[in-house]
Protein backbone atom coordinates (compact mmCIF):
# COMPACT_ATOMS: atom_id res chain seq x y z
CA UNK A 1 0.00 0.00 0.00
CA UNK A 2 2.57 2.56 -1.01
CA UNK A 3 0.25 5.33 -2.06
CA UNK A 4 1.99 8.51 -3.07
CA UNK A 5 -0.92 10.85 -2.52
CA UNK A 6 -1.18 12.65 0.83
CA UNK A 7 -4.47 14.19 1.87
CA UNK A 8 -4.47 16.18 5.06
CA UNK A 9 -8.14 16.19 6.05
CA UNK A 10 -7.83 17.19 9.70
CA UNK A 11 -7.81 20.98 9.48
CA UNK A 12 -10.14 21.17 12.47
CA UNK A 13 -7.30 19.67 14.53
CA UNK A 14 -4.61 22.03 13.29
CA UNK A 15 -3.18 23.60 10.14
CA UNK A 16 0.22 24.28 8.65
CA UNK A 17 1.74 27.71 9.17
CA UNK A 18 1.34 29.64 5.94
CA UNK A 19 4.30 31.16 4.12
CA UNK A 20 2.87 34.64 4.64
CA UNK A 21 2.55 34.06 8.39
CA UNK A 22 6.02 32.56 8.66
CA UNK A 23 7.63 35.53 6.89
CA UNK A 24 5.70 37.97 9.04
CA UNK A 25 6.98 36.29 12.21
CA UNK A 26 10.64 35.77 11.37
CA UNK A 27 11.97 39.32 12.03
CA UNK A 28 10.76 39.11 15.62
CA UNK A 29 13.04 36.23 16.55
CA UNK A 30 16.48 37.65 15.70
CA UNK A 31 16.16 41.26 14.65
CA UNK A 32 13.29 42.92 16.47
CA UNK A 33 13.69 40.84 19.61
CA UNK A 34 13.26 43.61 22.13
CA UNK A 35 10.82 43.39 25.01
CA UNK A 36 7.79 45.53 24.10
CA UNK A 37 7.77 46.85 27.66
CA UNK A 38 11.26 48.33 27.26
CA UNK A 39 11.56 52.03 26.58
CA UNK A 40 14.55 51.97 24.24
CA UNK A 41 14.24 51.72 20.50
CA UNK A 42 14.52 47.93 20.18
CA UNK A 43 11.65 47.50 22.63
CA UNK A 44 9.49 50.10 20.98
CA UNK A 45 10.18 48.53 17.60
CA UNK A 46 8.48 45.41 18.93
CA UNK A 47 5.72 47.36 20.68
CA UNK A 48 4.37 48.99 17.52
CA UNK A 49 3.75 45.72 15.60
CA UNK A 50 2.23 44.22 18.74
CA UNK A 51 -0.29 47.03 18.92
CA UNK A 52 -0.87 46.85 15.17
CA UNK A 53 -1.61 43.14 15.58
CA UNK A 54 -4.14 43.98 18.29
CA UNK A 55 -5.81 46.49 16.00
CA UNK A 56 -5.88 43.99 13.14
CA UNK A 57 -7.46 41.24 15.22
CA UNK A 58 -9.98 43.73 16.58
CA UNK A 59 -10.94 44.83 13.10
CA UNK A 60 -11.53 41.25 11.99
CA UNK A 61 -14.04 40.80 14.81
CA UNK A 62 -15.72 44.20 14.68
CA UNK A 63 -14.14 45.07 18.03
CA UNK A 64 -11.89 47.85 19.35
CA UNK A 65 -8.15 47.26 19.90
CA UNK A 66 -8.42 47.67 23.66
CA UNK A 67 -10.91 44.79 23.73
CA UNK A 68 -8.39 42.22 22.44
CA UNK A 69 -6.19 40.24 24.83
CA UNK A 70 -3.56 37.86 23.53
CA UNK A 71 -3.28 34.45 25.15
CA UNK A 72 -1.37 31.21 24.60
CA UNK A 73 -4.22 29.23 23.01
CA UNK A 74 -7.96 28.81 22.61
CA UNK A 75 -8.18 26.70 25.75
CA UNK A 76 -6.57 29.48 27.78
CA UNK A 77 -9.03 31.98 26.36
CA UNK A 78 -11.95 29.71 27.31
CA UNK A 79 -10.61 29.11 30.80
CA UNK A 80 -9.97 32.77 31.41
CA UNK A 81 -13.29 33.99 30.04
CA UNK A 82 -15.43 31.48 31.90
CA UNK A 83 -13.63 31.31 35.24
CA UNK A 84 -12.83 35.01 35.20
CA UNK A 85 -16.38 36.09 34.43
CA UNK A 86 -18.09 33.55 36.69
CA UNK A 87 -16.00 34.45 39.72
CA UNK A 88 -16.32 38.18 39.12
CA UNK A 89 -20.10 37.82 38.81
CA UNK A 90 -20.29 35.84 42.03
CA UNK A 91 -18.20 38.36 43.91
CA UNK A 92 -20.01 41.42 42.61
CA UNK A 93 -23.58 40.16 42.23
CA UNK A 94 -23.70 36.84 44.09
CA UNK A 95 -24.62 35.00 40.91
CA UNK A 96 -23.58 31.34 40.71
CA UNK A 97 -25.37 29.85 37.69
CA UNK A 98 -23.74 29.11 34.33
CA UNK A 99 -25.43 27.94 31.12
CA UNK A 100 -23.55 26.07 28.43
CA UNK A 101 -24.31 23.36 25.90
CA UNK A 102 -23.85 19.62 26.16
CA UNK A 103 -21.34 19.39 23.32
CA UNK A 104 -18.84 22.13 24.05
CA UNK A 105 -15.11 21.59 23.64
CA UNK A 106 -13.52 20.14 26.77
CA UNK A 107 -11.80 23.48 27.36
CA UNK A 108 -15.29 24.78 28.17
CA UNK A 109 -16.88 21.65 29.65
CA UNK A 110 -14.03 20.84 32.02
CA UNK A 111 -13.82 24.49 33.03
CA UNK A 112 -17.53 24.40 33.88
CA UNK A 113 -17.00 21.17 35.82
CA UNK A 114 -14.19 22.83 37.77
CA UNK A 115 -16.56 25.69 38.62
CA UNK A 116 -19.21 23.18 39.76
CA UNK A 117 -16.71 21.91 42.33
CA UNK A 118 -16.25 25.52 43.33
CA UNK A 119 -19.95 25.95 44.13
CA UNK A 120 -21.42 27.03 40.80
CA UNK A 121 -24.37 25.25 39.21
CA UNK A 122 -24.24 24.55 35.50
CA UNK A 123 -27.08 23.95 33.04
CA UNK A 124 -26.08 21.94 29.97
CA UNK A 125 -28.49 22.79 27.16
CA UNK A 126 -29.40 19.92 24.81
CA UNK A 127 -28.25 20.24 21.23
CA UNK A 128 -30.81 17.88 19.71
CA UNK A 129 -30.41 15.53 16.78
CA UNK A 130 -29.23 18.30 14.46
CA UNK A 131 -26.53 19.58 16.82
CA UNK A 132 -28.13 22.98 17.37
CA UNK A 133 -29.02 24.86 20.54
CA UNK A 134 -32.61 26.14 20.62
CA UNK A 135 -32.81 29.85 21.53
CA UNK A 136 -36.08 29.35 23.38
CA UNK A 137 -34.43 26.72 25.57
CA UNK A 138 -31.66 29.17 26.42
CA UNK A 139 -34.30 31.75 27.27
CA UNK A 140 -36.09 29.33 29.59
CA UNK A 141 -32.85 28.32 31.30
CA UNK A 142 -31.82 31.85 32.29
CA UNK A 143 -32.64 32.74 35.89
CA UNK A 144 -31.98 35.68 38.22
CA UNK A 145 -28.92 33.77 39.36
CA UNK A 146 -27.37 33.28 35.89
CA UNK A 147 -23.87 34.75 35.77
CA UNK A 148 -22.78 33.64 32.32
CA UNK A 149 -23.84 31.87 29.15
CA UNK A 150 -21.11 30.15 27.13
CA UNK A 151 -22.04 28.45 23.85
CA UNK A 152 -19.62 27.58 21.08
CA UNK A 153 -19.92 29.31 17.73
CA UNK A 154 -19.28 26.17 15.66
CA UNK A 155 -18.78 22.65 16.89
CA UNK A 156 -15.34 21.16 16.39
CA UNK A 157 -16.50 17.61 15.66
CA UNK A 158 -19.75 17.88 13.74
CA UNK A 159 -19.30 21.43 12.45
CA UNK A 160 -22.73 22.76 13.33
CA UNK A 161 -23.02 26.55 13.50
CA UNK A 162 -25.11 27.90 16.35
CA UNK A 163 -27.60 30.77 16.03
CA UNK A 164 -25.11 33.01 17.83
CA UNK A 165 -26.71 36.34 17.05
CA UNK A 166 -30.03 35.21 18.47
CA UNK A 167 -28.44 33.63 21.53
CA UNK A 168 -26.47 36.83 22.07
CA UNK A 169 -29.60 38.96 21.78
CA UNK A 170 -31.38 36.88 24.41
CA UNK A 171 -28.44 37.27 26.77
CA UNK A 172 -28.30 41.00 26.16
CA UNK A 173 -32.02 41.42 26.80
CA UNK A 174 -31.77 39.44 30.02
CA UNK A 175 -28.61 41.20 31.18
CA UNK A 176 -26.45 38.06 31.20
CA UNK A 177 -22.86 37.87 29.95
CA UNK A 178 -22.41 35.89 26.75
CA UNK A 179 -19.17 34.11 25.81
CA UNK A 180 -18.57 32.04 22.69
CA UNK A 181 -15.74 29.70 21.76
CA UNK A 182 -15.18 30.66 18.14
CA UNK A 183 -12.02 28.62 17.59
CA UNK A 184 -13.57 26.67 14.70
CA UNK A 185 -15.64 29.54 13.35
CA UNK A 186 -12.96 32.14 12.62
CA UNK A 187 -12.33 32.39 8.90
CA UNK A 188 -15.36 30.24 8.11
CA UNK A 189 -18.21 32.35 9.44
CA UNK A 190 -18.72 36.12 9.36
CA UNK A 191 -18.17 37.33 12.90
CA UNK A 192 -19.14 40.74 14.23
CA UNK A 193 -19.07 40.84 18.00
CA UNK A 194 -21.13 44.02 18.23
CA UNK A 195 -23.88 43.04 15.79
CA UNK A 196 -23.98 39.53 17.26
CA UNK A 197 -24.14 40.72 20.89
CA UNK A 198 -21.05 38.80 21.97
CA UNK A 199 -19.44 39.90 25.25
CA UNK A 200 -16.45 37.56 25.09
CA UNK A 201 -15.02 35.46 22.27
CA UNK A 202 -12.18 32.91 22.24
CA UNK A 203 -10.06 32.22 19.21
CA UNK A 204 -6.95 30.27 18.35
CA UNK A 205 -4.16 30.81 15.85
CA UNK A 206 -3.24 27.32 14.71
CA UNK A 207 -6.62 26.56 13.15
CA UNK A 208 -6.08 29.36 10.64
CA UNK A 209 -2.44 28.84 9.59
CA UNK A 210 -0.79 30.67 12.48
CA UNK A 211 1.45 28.63 14.79
CA UNK A 212 0.35 26.59 17.80
CA UNK A 213 0.72 28.44 21.09
CA UNK A 214 -1.09 31.68 20.41
CA UNK A 215 -4.70 32.71 20.82
CA UNK A 216 -6.80 35.68 21.78
CA UNK A 217 -9.75 36.61 23.91
CA UNK A 218 -12.09 39.46 23.05
CA UNK A 219 -13.59 41.06 26.13
CA UNK A 220 -16.12 43.77 25.43
CA UNK A 221 -15.19 47.11 27.04
CA UNK A 222 -17.03 47.42 30.32
CA UNK A 223 -17.15 43.69 31.03
CA UNK A 224 -15.22 42.92 34.17
CA UNK A 225 -13.54 39.57 34.59
CA UNK A 226 -10.83 38.50 37.00
CA UNK A 227 -7.21 38.60 35.88
CA UNK A 228 -5.83 35.48 34.31
CA UNK A 229 -2.26 35.90 35.44
CA UNK A 230 -0.86 38.48 37.83
CA UNK A 231 2.61 39.85 37.52
CA UNK A 232 2.94 42.60 34.97
CA UNK A 233 1.32 45.38 33.02
CA UNK A 234 1.03 43.36 29.83
CA UNK A 235 -2.43 42.99 28.29
CA UNK A 236 -3.73 45.91 30.31
CA UNK A 237 -2.57 44.25 33.51
CA UNK A 238 -4.99 41.37 33.13
CA UNK A 239 -2.74 38.72 31.64
CA UNK A 240 0.87 39.05 32.75
CA UNK A 241 3.85 37.65 30.89
CA UNK A 242 6.14 39.06 28.22
CA UNK A 243 4.22 39.08 24.97
CA UNK A 244 4.94 36.39 22.38
CA UNK A 245 5.40 39.10 19.76
CA UNK A 246 6.35 36.90 16.82
CA UNK A 247 3.39 34.59 17.22
CA UNK A 248 1.00 37.43 17.97
CA UNK A 249 2.05 39.03 14.71
CA UNK A 250 1.59 35.62 13.09
CA UNK A 251 -1.90 35.35 14.53
CA UNK A 252 -2.84 38.79 13.28
CA UNK A 253 -1.47 38.05 9.81
CA UNK A 254 -3.41 34.79 9.73
CA UNK A 255 -6.72 36.18 10.93
CA UNK A 256 -6.50 39.10 8.51
CA UNK A 257 -6.02 36.71 5.63
CA UNK A 258 -8.70 34.33 6.90
CA UNK A 259 -11.22 37.13 7.27
CA UNK A 260 -10.44 38.89 4.00
CA UNK A 261 -10.79 35.65 2.04
CA UNK A 262 -13.76 34.26 3.91
CA UNK A 263 -16.21 34.44 1.02
CA UNK A 264 -13.79 32.73 -1.36
CA UNK A 265 -13.16 30.05 1.26
CA UNK A 266 -16.84 29.36 1.73
CA UNK A 267 -17.37 29.31 -2.04
CA UNK A 268 -14.47 26.92 -2.55
CA UNK A 269 -15.00 24.53 0.36
CA UNK A 270 -18.77 24.18 0.22
CA UNK A 271 -18.91 22.25 -3.09
CA UNK A 272 -16.04 20.04 -1.88
CA UNK A 273 -17.88 19.30 1.34
CA UNK A 274 -21.13 18.66 -0.47
CA UNK A 275 -19.59 16.29 -2.98
CA UNK A 276 -18.06 14.28 -0.16
CA UNK A 277 -21.31 14.21 1.80
CA UNK A 278 -23.20 13.02 -1.23
CA UNK A 279 -20.61 10.37 -2.01
CA UNK A 280 -20.45 9.03 1.53
CA UNK A 281 -24.22 9.04 1.88
CA UNK A 282 -24.31 6.33 -0.78
CA UNK A 283 -22.51 3.95 1.56
CA UNK A 284 -25.05 1.60 3.06
CA UNK A 285 -26.01 2.33 6.67
CA UNK A 286 -24.07 5.56 6.99
CA UNK A 287 -25.17 8.90 8.41
CA UNK A 288 -24.09 12.53 8.34
CA UNK A 289 -23.71 13.88 11.86
CA UNK A 290 -25.25 17.27 12.54
CA UNK A 291 -27.30 19.70 10.51
CA UNK A 292 -26.46 19.71 6.84
CA UNK A 293 -27.60 23.30 6.43
CA UNK A 294 -26.04 25.02 9.48
CA UNK A 295 -22.61 23.59 8.97
CA UNK A 296 -19.00 24.74 8.59
CA UNK A 297 -17.98 24.77 4.92
CA UNK A 298 -15.09 22.38 5.52
CA UNK A 299 -16.63 19.85 7.92
CA UNK A 300 -17.79 16.34 7.06
CA UNK A 301 -18.69 14.06 9.96
CA UNK A 302 -20.10 10.60 9.36
CA UNK A 303 -20.90 7.41 11.21
CA UNK A 304 -20.70 4.03 9.52
CA UNK A 305 -22.48 1.12 11.13
CA UNK A 306 -20.57 -2.02 12.04
CA UNK A 307 -17.04 -0.61 12.12
CA UNK A 308 -14.82 1.11 14.66
CA UNK A 309 -13.25 4.50 14.08
CA UNK A 310 -9.66 3.86 15.06
CA UNK A 311 -9.15 1.00 12.63
CA UNK A 312 -10.78 3.17 9.99
CA UNK A 313 -8.28 5.98 10.70
CA UNK A 314 -5.32 3.60 10.59
CA UNK A 315 -6.34 2.24 7.19
CA UNK A 316 -6.97 5.75 5.87
CA UNK A 317 -3.52 6.74 7.12
CA UNK A 318 -2.00 3.83 5.19
CA UNK A 319 -3.59 5.41 2.12
CA UNK A 320 -2.12 8.81 2.98
CA UNK A 321 -5.33 10.31 4.36
CA UNK A 322 -5.33 12.03 7.77
CA UNK A 323 -8.68 12.20 9.53
CA UNK A 324 -10.07 11.91 13.04
CA UNK A 325 -12.72 9.96 14.90
CA UNK A 326 -14.79 10.28 18.03
CA UNK A 327 -14.65 6.58 18.86
CA UNK A 328 -13.71 5.52 22.38
CA UNK A 329 -10.50 3.93 21.14
CA UNK A 330 -9.30 7.19 19.67
CA UNK A 331 -10.30 9.24 22.69
CA UNK A 332 -8.32 6.96 24.99
CA UNK A 333 -11.36 6.49 27.20
CA UNK A 334 -14.13 3.93 27.37
CA UNK A 335 -16.77 6.22 25.95
CA UNK A 336 -17.09 7.63 22.49
CA UNK A 337 -17.13 11.38 22.01
CA UNK A 338 -19.57 13.34 24.14
CA UNK A 339 -20.48 15.32 21.02
CA UNK A 340 -21.82 12.27 19.21
CA UNK A 341 -23.66 11.08 22.32
CA UNK A 342 -25.16 14.55 22.75
CA UNK A 343 -26.89 14.33 19.37
CA UNK A 344 -28.56 11.12 20.49
CA UNK A 345 -26.33 8.47 18.96
CA UNK A 346 -25.87 5.19 20.84
CA UNK A 347 -22.32 4.08 21.65
CA UNK A 348 -22.55 1.35 19.03
CA UNK A 349 -23.02 3.89 16.23
CA UNK A 350 -20.76 6.60 17.65
CA UNK A 351 -17.80 4.18 17.64
CA UNK A 352 -17.97 4.17 13.85
CA UNK A 353 -17.42 7.91 13.42
CA UNK A 354 -15.13 9.75 11.06
CA UNK A 355 -14.44 13.48 10.82
CA UNK A 356 -12.80 14.89 7.72
CA UNK A 357 -12.14 18.63 7.81
CA UNK A 358 -10.85 20.71 4.94
CA UNK A 359 -9.08 24.00 4.48
CA UNK A 360 -7.26 26.26 2.08
CA UNK A 361 -4.72 23.65 1.01
CA UNK A 362 -7.25 20.99 0.01
CA UNK A 363 -8.56 20.49 -3.50
CA UNK A 364 -11.45 18.75 -5.19
CA UNK A 365 -8.95 16.05 -6.18
CA UNK A 366 -8.54 15.29 -2.48
CA UNK A 367 -12.27 14.70 -2.23
CA UNK A 368 -12.23 12.43 -5.27
CA UNK A 369 -9.34 10.47 -3.84
CA UNK A 370 -11.12 10.00 -0.50
CA UNK A 371 -14.24 8.83 -2.32
CA UNK A 372 -12.12 6.41 -4.30
CA UNK A 373 -10.48 4.89 -1.23
CA UNK A 374 -12.94 5.11 1.65
CA UNK A 375 -15.77 2.81 0.50
CA UNK A 376 -13.31 -0.05 -0.01
CA UNK A 377 -11.82 0.46 3.44
CA UNK A 378 -15.25 0.39 5.03
CA UNK A 379 -16.16 -2.75 3.13
CA UNK A 380 -12.93 -4.40 4.22
CA UNK A 381 -13.59 -3.62 7.90
CA UNK A 382 -17.22 -4.65 7.66
CA UNK A 383 -16.26 -7.97 6.09
CA UNK A 384 -14.35 -8.89 9.21
CA UNK A 385 -16.82 -7.35 11.67
CA UNK A 386 -19.08 -9.65 13.71
CA UNK A 387 -21.17 -6.56 14.48
CA UNK A 388 -21.77 -5.91 10.80
CA UNK A 389 -22.60 -9.60 10.42
CA UNK A 390 -25.21 -9.26 13.17
CA UNK A 391 -26.60 -6.06 11.61
CA UNK A 392 -26.92 -7.71 8.21
CA UNK A 393 -28.65 -10.72 9.67
CA UNK A 394 -31.11 -8.44 11.44
CA UNK A 395 -29.99 -9.56 14.92
CA UNK A 396 -29.36 -5.94 15.88
CA UNK A 397 -30.63 -2.81 14.24
CA UNK A 398 -29.49 0.79 14.49
CA UNK A 399 -31.31 2.12 11.46
CA UNK A 400 -33.51 4.40 13.58
CA UNK A 401 -30.37 6.47 14.18
CA UNK A 402 -29.44 6.75 10.53
Amino acid sequence: MDQKRKVYADNAATTAVSEEVLQAMLPFYREIYGNPSSLYELGQEAKAPLEQARADVAQCLGAKPNEIYFTSCGSESDNWAIKGAARAQRRKHGKTHIITSAFEHHAVLHTCEALEKDGFTVTYLPVHEDGLVRPEELSEAITEDTALVTIMYANNEIGTIQPIEELGRICKERGVLFHTDAVQAVGNVHIDVKAQNIDMLSLSGHKIHAPKGVGALYIRAGVFIENFMDGGAQERGRRAGTENVAQIVGLATAIKHATETIDQRIARLTPMRDRLIEGLSKIERSRLNGSREHRLPGNVSFCFQGIEGESLLLLLDMHGISGSSGSACTSGSLDPSHVLLSIGLPHEVAHGSLRLSFGDYNTMEDIDYILEVLPGIIERLRNMSPLWDAIRQGKVNYDEFM
Binding site: L314, H347, E348, N383, S385, P386
Partner: protein
Protein backbone atom coordinates in the same frame (compact mmCIF):
# COMPACT_ATOMS: atom_id res chain seq x y z
CA UNK B 1 -0.09 6.20 21.31
CA UNK B 2 2.07 4.28 18.93
CA UNK B 3 1.73 0.68 17.84
CA UNK B 4 4.68 -1.64 17.31
CA UNK B 5 5.56 -2.75 13.80
CA UNK B 6 4.21 -6.20 14.58
CA UNK B 7 0.85 -4.78 15.67
CA UNK B 8 0.65 -2.74 12.48
CA UNK B 9 1.60 -5.76 10.40
CA UNK B 10 -1.13 -7.94 11.95
CA UNK B 11 -3.62 -5.09 11.65
CA UNK B 12 -2.81 -4.38 8.00
CA UNK B 13 -2.44 -8.05 7.03
CA UNK B 14 -4.57 -10.00 9.47
CA UNK B 15 -3.93 -13.76 9.53
CA UNK B 16 -6.79 -16.24 9.55
CA UNK B 17 -9.48 -13.62 9.16
CA UNK B 18 -13.03 -14.37 8.07
CA UNK B 19 -15.97 -16.58 8.73
CA UNK B 20 -15.55 -20.35 9.01
CA UNK B 21 -18.38 -22.57 7.82
CA UNK B 22 -17.52 -26.04 9.16
CA UNK B 23 -16.27 -25.03 12.58
CA UNK B 24 -16.19 -27.27 15.63
CA UNK B 25 -16.68 -24.41 18.04
CA UNK B 26 -17.29 -20.66 17.96
CA UNK B 27 -17.04 -18.07 20.71
CA UNK B 28 -17.84 -14.39 20.78
CA UNK B 29 -16.72 -11.91 23.45
CA UNK B 30 -16.90 -8.17 24.02
CA UNK B 31 -19.86 -6.03 23.15
CA UNK B 32 -20.69 -3.28 20.68
CA UNK B 33 -21.25 -0.68 23.39
CA UNK B 34 -17.60 -0.94 24.47
CA UNK B 35 -16.53 -0.82 20.85
CA UNK B 36 -15.05 -4.26 20.39
CA UNK B 37 -16.36 -7.73 19.62
CA UNK B 38 -14.20 -10.74 18.84
CA UNK B 39 -15.54 -13.90 17.33
CA UNK B 40 -13.23 -16.92 17.18
CA UNK B 41 -13.92 -20.09 15.17
CA UNK B 42 -11.99 -23.31 15.77
CA UNK B 43 -11.85 -26.56 13.87
CA UNK B 44 -10.82 -29.47 16.07
CA UNK B 45 -9.57 -32.86 14.95
CA UNK B 46 -8.70 -35.27 17.71
CA UNK B 47 -7.35 -32.95 20.37
CA UNK B 48 -5.78 -30.55 17.95
CA UNK B 49 -6.98 -27.18 16.72
CA UNK B 50 -6.35 -27.77 13.04
CA UNK B 51 -7.85 -24.52 11.84
CA UNK B 52 -8.85 -21.23 13.39
CA UNK B 53 -10.28 -17.97 12.15
CA UNK B 54 -11.60 -14.75 13.60
CA UNK B 55 -13.89 -11.84 12.93
CA UNK B 56 -13.37 -8.65 14.92
CA UNK B 57 -15.16 -5.35 15.30
CA UNK B 58 -12.77 -3.00 17.01
CA UNK B 59 -9.66 -0.89 16.96
CA UNK B 60 -6.30 -1.67 15.43
CA UNK B 61 -5.12 -3.46 18.55
CA UNK B 62 -8.27 -5.58 18.70
CA UNK B 63 -7.73 -6.76 15.13
CA UNK B 64 -4.00 -7.34 15.66
CA UNK B 65 -4.45 -9.30 18.91
CA UNK B 66 -7.12 -11.48 17.29
CA UNK B 67 -4.82 -12.19 14.39
CA UNK B 68 -1.85 -12.99 16.61
CA UNK B 69 -3.95 -15.19 18.90
CA UNK B 70 -5.07 -17.32 15.96
CA UNK B 71 -1.45 -17.82 14.90
CA UNK B 72 -0.44 -18.84 18.40
CA UNK B 73 -3.05 -21.61 18.70
CA UNK B 74 -3.25 -22.93 15.17
CA UNK B 75 -2.09 -26.55 15.04
CA UNK B 76 -1.79 -26.71 18.82
CA UNK B 77 -3.53 -29.12 21.20
CA UNK B 78 -6.58 -27.66 22.95
CA UNK B 79 -4.85 -27.97 26.32
CA UNK B 80 -2.08 -25.70 25.07
CA UNK B 81 -4.47 -23.17 23.53
CA UNK B 82 -6.22 -22.88 26.87
CA UNK B 83 -2.94 -21.89 28.48
CA UNK B 84 -2.49 -18.94 26.16
CA UNK B 85 -2.54 -15.76 28.23
CA UNK B 86 -3.18 -12.20 27.17
CA UNK B 87 0.42 -11.46 28.21
CA UNK B 88 1.73 -14.00 25.73
CA UNK B 89 -0.33 -12.38 22.97
CA UNK B 90 1.02 -8.97 23.92
CA UNK B 91 4.60 -10.18 24.04
CA UNK B 92 4.25 -11.81 20.64
CA UNK B 93 3.15 -8.42 19.31
CA UNK B 94 6.11 -6.61 20.93
CA UNK B 95 3.78 -4.96 23.40
CA UNK B 96 0.64 -2.85 23.36
CA UNK B 97 -0.08 0.67 24.63
CA UNK B 98 -1.44 0.52 28.19
CA UNK B 99 -4.95 1.54 27.12
CA UNK B 100 -5.06 -1.40 24.71
CA UNK B 101 -4.20 -4.20 27.16
CA UNK B 102 -7.93 -4.81 27.24
CA UNK B 103 -7.83 -6.05 23.63
CA UNK B 104 -5.37 -8.82 24.47
CA UNK B 105 -7.68 -9.92 27.30
CA UNK B 106 -10.48 -10.19 24.76
CA UNK B 107 -8.32 -12.41 22.57
CA UNK B 108 -7.64 -14.77 25.46
CA UNK B 109 -11.34 -14.81 26.30
CA UNK B 110 -12.35 -15.47 22.71
CA UNK B 111 -10.22 -18.62 22.51
CA UNK B 112 -11.67 -19.93 25.77
CA UNK B 113 -15.18 -19.12 24.59
CA UNK B 114 -14.63 -21.02 21.34
CA UNK B 115 -13.25 -24.06 23.20
CA UNK B 116 -16.19 -23.92 25.64
CA UNK B 117 -18.56 -23.95 22.72
CA UNK B 118 -16.73 -26.92 21.22
CA UNK B 119 -17.17 -28.97 24.40
CA UNK B 120 -20.76 -27.87 24.84
CA UNK B 121 -21.55 -29.09 21.33
CA UNK B 122 -20.05 -32.46 22.28
CA UNK B 123 -22.32 -32.60 25.32
CA UNK B 124 -19.39 -32.11 27.68
CA UNK B 125 -19.57 -29.57 30.48
CA UNK B 126 -16.76 -27.11 29.60
CA UNK B 127 -16.49 -25.55 33.04
CA UNK B 128 -14.04 -28.08 34.58
CA UNK B 129 -11.83 -28.02 31.48
CA UNK B 130 -11.89 -24.39 30.40
CA UNK B 131 -12.40 -22.90 33.82
CA UNK B 132 -13.60 -19.38 34.37
CA UNK B 133 -13.30 -17.03 31.49
CA UNK B 134 -11.67 -14.01 33.09
CA UNK B 135 -13.68 -10.83 32.96
CA UNK B 136 -11.89 -7.93 31.43
CA UNK B 137 -10.74 -5.65 34.23
CA UNK B 138 -10.57 -2.62 31.98
CA UNK B 139 -14.26 -2.10 31.49
CA UNK B 140 -15.86 -5.11 33.20
CA UNK B 141 -18.06 -5.70 30.20
CA UNK B 142 -19.90 -8.99 30.27
CA UNK B 143 -18.72 -11.67 27.89
Amino acid sequence: MAYSEKVMDHFANPRNVGEMKDFSGVGEVGNPKCGDIMRMYIKVEGDTITDVSFMTFGCGAAIATSSMATELIKGKPISEALKLTNKAVMEALDGLPAVKVHCSVLAEQAIKAAVSDYYTRLGIDPAPIVGEIPECEECGCSV
